[in-house]
């Protein structure tokens, strides 16, 4: 179903969609977020997470494949004038297509074998990049604190490359309390910390693992660091004091995956 063109930026629906690119509150109030661009809109449709497909008036032919997908699923298609599309989207030169998606309910807790827990990671690009890494590795979940950048903000969504549609996200209002709960459920927590022991010398990894990454400037808070089962530092021979938060998280998650793969191979061929 194609809805009537919206060509005024004062249209109340246009105003509401525009607000989705702003602070997190508008997304929470409306229970929606905006997946901008061809790739993200396609991911939203694939994940059955598109409520309305917004298409720039002049781009309906260009995006006929996406429009066809939406129509087959009885998702309304909303043409917007060039000005309205530009007002609604976050990027300077919008691609001309965007999906209005329901904001997923953040799970209360995660059961995934791997959890990346971010304490007040403020850069939306970092939060989105961690989601993308978890999505690539598969089987992981993201735990965030209220001080983290919103994973559903335009910048985080761009960095996540659609991972928000697949990776479960959990909000821990009180990270130390959440950590105690994860520990009781058999998780071991592993903190990236500059004063830790060498990461590559760590003992065998547990089955259920929670990797803790702190704020870009301040690192992990005292209580969280104190609660962590282990504190490890990545090797640094150079002069830089630290790594980018999403990079540190990925290096740790990938080395855990490397060991898991080795373990699976040994298991499959005991002669190794």
């Amino acid at each position: 179903m194609t809805l009537p063109l919206i060509s005024s930026i004062h249209n109340p629906k246009a105003q509401a969609w525009k607000a989705l690119s702003g602070p997190a509150r508008a997304r929470r109030e409306q229970g929606l977020f905006l997946a901008e661009g061809e790739h993200m809109a396609g991911e939203a449709l694939k994940a059955s997470a598109c409520r309305v497909l917004l298409v720039r008036e002049d781009d309906q032919e260009r995006y006929s494949a996406l429009i066809g997908q939406a129509e087959r699923r009885e998702i309304p298609v909303q043409p917007l004038s060039d000005r309205v599309m530009a007002a609604v989207c976050d990027v300077r030169a919008p691609q001309g297509v965007a999906a209005v998606c329901p904001l997923p309910a953040l799970t209360k807790t995660l059961e995934t074998p791997t959890v990346a827990a971010l304490e007040d990671v403020q850069d939306p690009g970092n939060v989105g990049t961690v989601l993308r890494t978890l999505d690539a590795l598969g089987g992981g979940g993201l735990l965030i604190t209220p001080g983290c950048a919103d994973p559903f903000s335009p910048k985080a969504l761009r960095a996540s490359m659609g991972a928000v549609f697949r990776v479960p996200v959990c909000m821990a209002e009180d990270l130390p309390a959440a950590l105690r709960d994860y520990h009781q459920r058999g998780y071991r927590s592993l903190a990236g910390a500059l004063d830790g022991t060498p990461f590559y010398d760590r003992p065998p990894d547990p089955e259920k693992i929670l990797v803790l990454i702190g704020n870009e400037g301040a690192g992990l808070s005292g209580p969280v660091k104190a609660l962590a089962c282990e504190r490890f530092r990545l090797p640094m021979r150079g002069e830089a004091e630290s790594l980018n938060a999403a990079v540190a998280c990925a290096v740790m998650l990938y080395d855990i995956e490397r060991r898991r793969l080795e373990g699976e191979r040994v298991h499959a061929d005991p002669s190794l």
Copy 2:
């Protein structure tokens, strides 16, 4: 030496500094770049790479330590009015201090044991993050192509956290030709590619290694992929098609470092 206050944004020097936050051409023409903020200006002074220290008029007391460092080295200190500082700096809310630095001459070639070679990596955050990772690992160099984001742009500088002052950067106008040269000088090149063999099963790493990372959307070009000594893919069990370029580069560089550390330990204790 404290220079007379500049309070007009039409001042020719202010105009020239402002241009340093724009496209790369202005930086190349002036042979300068701008290191914004307390951390970066401090790194510039530490690296003896500050020609003029710009300080917001009202922040001279706040940055008295940096000003003292500049004065001891006979580097001129330039007070700017609030409006001029805001015009010169790239960020919306400038910290009130910035260093005008000479643009380092890009080396013609690198001799570092590790080289990260980026082909047309367009996101300045990715280029800066790779520099930061190289800086943390130590002993590496960055090779870029003309299609890469400029490492001296404000966004790349912010992501690099001062690494530009320490990590050598080389520009390869013709990457395939450069690759042949590196191969002749004993480097082995290792490409991250989705159609490669599993990265963690790779043979022992050579002493001189060059890690190739392609453009965010298109990956490595055909000729470069064909020239690479080895093509490896990082394990992915999830649905994501790829990793962020800076993350993929860091995961590979860190695993190479892990093996080097293991090798050093075996060397130090032959009984292992």
